[in-house]
């Protein structure tokens, strides 16, 4: 599998996701935000975490309109895989690839902590190595991760099974306590209609080794790589 990690000015978790992709067996290339095309043969585009352009405006608003995003939209329209993590999720919402928006956390503070997620479905390219309803232990680090959408959008996301992950407790129960940023329906990540674009606030890329907290994040990257291994 060939992955392209887009680097915006202010991206800061590009190295973390690069390491996770490589360790799962993907080839990876960094792509500068001013590029007009993706590298030939790109299977997966990753928008990493960070504070693109400082995020002094609405988070992801400027990055969502960056030059490279036209190429990303074209890739997605062709059915190519796109993964946006944290700031990447915010950028996907701002670029029109995913619905809704990430508001400031309910407590109005940046929060960084370990967090369980429940895997809502395991029949996508991103989650095939997980079990359905499996609680996975990853982490969050964001100030604006409070997923918000209008009623109609929310109904559609739920109705079409487009919620990818929800904040849960260690047993996979969806509780108010586990939903610290105040997201609607405890949504931690969502898919596009065709399930080829995933945006998520938590960071699976930081939980890929026992030494630094655990390996529950590996499944996502290994799912992606194995999707391609099978296809090829």
């Amino acid at each position: 599998m060939k992955s392209a990690v887009i680097v915006f000015p202010g991206s800061n978790r590009e190295g973390d996701v690069l390491r996770a992709l490589k360790s799962a067996g993907s080839q990876v290339e960094k792509v500068w935000h001013a590029e007009t095309e993706l590298p030939k043969g790109t299977d997966l585009v990753v928008l990493p975490g960070g504070f693109s352009y400082g995020d002094y405006l609405r988070c992801g608003a400027i990055a969502g309109r960056a030059t490279v995003m036209d190429a990303v939209r074209t890739h997605a329209a062709r059915g190519g895989l796109v993964l946006g993590i944290c700031n990447g999720f915010q950028i996907l919402c701002e670029s029109g690839l995913l619905p809704g928006i990430l508001m400031r956390n309910a407590n109005l503070k940046f929060i960084c902590h370990r967090q369980f997620l429940r895997v809502e479905r395991n029949d996508t390219a991103f989650t095939r190595n997980y079990a359905k309803d499996q609680p996975i232990d990853v982490c969050v680090a964001h100030g604006e991760g409070n997923y918000t959408a209008d009623e109609e959008t929310l109904k559609r996301l739920e109705g079409e099974g487009l919620v990818a992950f929800r904040y849960s407790d260690a047993q996979g129960h969806i509780t108010q306590d586990a939903n610290r940023n105040g997201s609607m329906n405890s949504i931690a990540g969502i898919y596009s209609e065709k399930l080829n674009v995933l945006g998520m606030m938590p960071h699976p890329e930081n939980l890929i080794e026992d030494l630094v907290g655990g390996t529950d994040g590996r499944g996502l990257f290994e799912s992606l790589v194995s999707s391609f291994a099978k296809a090829a």
Binding site: G50, F51, G54, F110, C112, N206, L211, V212
Partner: protein
Amino acid sequence: MIRNDVAITPELVKEHGLKPDEYERFVTLIGREPTITELGIVSAMWNEHCSYKSSRIHLRGLPTKAPWVIQGPGENAGVIDIGDGLACIFKMESHNHPSFIEPYQGAATGVGGILRDVFTMGARPIAALNFLRFGEPDHPKTPHLVSGVVAGIGGYGNSFGVPTVGGSVGFDKRYNGNILVNAMAVGLARTDEIWYAKATGIGNPIVYLGSKTGRDGIHGATMASAEFDDASDEKRPTVQVGDPFAEKLLLEACLELMKSGAVIAIQDMGAAGLTSSAVEMGAKGNLGIELDLDKVPCREEGMTAYEMMLSESQERMLMVLKPGMEQEAEAIFHKWGLDFAVIGKTTDTLRFVIKHGGEVKADLPIKELGDEAPLYDRPWVESPKQPVIVPDSVKTPMSEAEALLKLVGSPDQCSKRWVWEQYDHLILGNTVQTPGGDAAIVRVEDGPKGLALTTDVTPRYCEADPFEGGKQAVAEAWRNITAVGGLPLAITDNLNFASPERPESMGQFVGCLKGIGEACKALDFPVVSGNVSLYNETNGQGILPTPAIGGVGLVDDVTVNASVAFKREGEVIILIGATQGWLGQSIYLRDVCGREDGAPPPVDLATERRNGDFVRQLIRSGQVTTVHDLSDGGIALGLAEMAMAGGVGAEITAFPENLPLHAFLFGEDQARYLIAVDEDVAADILYEAGAIGVPAVTLGLTGGDALILPGQQAISVKQLKAAHEAWLPNYMTGKA
């Protein structure tokens, strides 16, 4: 001849923070009345913050050398060799005064400044830490300051993309008018790719990089060199505004430029901005510097030479480039969207010449600006010695179990989760030990090496006995690194004291420094960088003497380490080190008995080293993975923290008959550790300890869901945790 538009009056001299004799010294040096720009320049160079005029004489006594030290104090940061061609570059610096006036920006730019110090030398920052002290919780300003400072530290570090992995937070009424915000940054570079401030070559271009210059922060360093009064809020305009995004771009651009081979010397613009950075580069290289301010990228129109030379706008750098490399360098900076301008050149005149609008605004001897700064041997008096408190003389107002429950939920001992959850401590994916333990561990690149990092000092000890307190601060940093399995290598010190013009507080400074020096020598733990912050006082009331120590140690293999959490039931708890039940200046005496007296625990450095070396060897040989060093609150608090971290209880059955129980449990004798080990190896460890004369005794066993102290009612781990976690969030939401 320089045209002088502004008459230099005694009032003007005073406003610039110069004493009349200091001004006279300057006039004699240059042989004429200075221009206003020159007065500004000298005020920036000769204030306490930049010139260390009251502290220099005493700083000379600190040990700064060791075979692994590549660069000691005097550069942007200290550099140590960690093997495999890698260097660790680190420093701690205060932003106390600005943080009190504008907590968010003051703290944020403190982080920005220290990160810049580290990457100026070619290092990529891999960790940040901090040391914070606030006024008493009941003071009306305290919650606002806590909230702003924590948000500011997080706001800058999180966006920049460095994990904030450790720190210290405490409260005391003595910080009511002067909080402490000390930020530490740790970076990594190759030993053959370290960059210094020393300019070389005549006629080489001097390049301005980064953000534009504005009017913010003018006289910031002068403000930091004066005590506060009731009108200090009026100093808000001297606080700078941080832009972590610009800093992140500056980092990437600088590292890219360094790789290109175009850089001769580099210096960040921190305190006293363009003035201090340019003078430093020239003076270090025995060269003159000529700047043309018309070329300086400005944010505002009509800025004067005076304003440009004193602006402390953030995220700016000065470089000397190899001639002919300007275009290549400019292309890199423009790619990152940053300003780049050739604003001057090196000369052979040893003069610091500033031109603006076609006129010379300043023409000063460059070396004398630094070398001839005033140097004071301020009068000082030794702090009066406090009597030693005999354990039997301290009466207990409550049971030991009640006292422990009170302490775990007290402002100083409670969990600081509310603070560190606002810091991204996981970015970069190398945080092996997160905040909340003895020392943080970050892996170096892909391992197996790691760095153990901590910030420490016990200010109440330093006030009661500056010499012992200074020793203890270093010893505790050394112990915290040891307790995770690290070999302590070097420290950075952030010396926060009150006015040096009062002999009592100068005496505290002198005493603490002597103690720090002695401990550093005995523990092979040299000082490689640091910062002095004096005048931390308001309306004549000084802070507690607070020499914060930032320690760095090396972990050879990060997979072999120890943490505080009890990991299994049925493990034997062993106390390493001797216990006399030292209650003087203890947390128990202060927070349970309401007394703040007595001599603090003495630190025997030979014992410290012997006990610590023993514990480290147990960790490194893989025999022990559960270790906690003992400090505030002694054995009882240590046990509680180990139980809470692991979710496993313990029962303590052994205790000395000849000591009151509360003195045994809460005494703060130094050089001690608690370890928990498998029953099979416990006997061996006790034997090994005995063989080399390290005191080691069995206290009890881990297990159950409660902590049971001798003869006391069991306290469930759940109850301990509830008390421990509750105070700070409740306080910050107005419920405590």
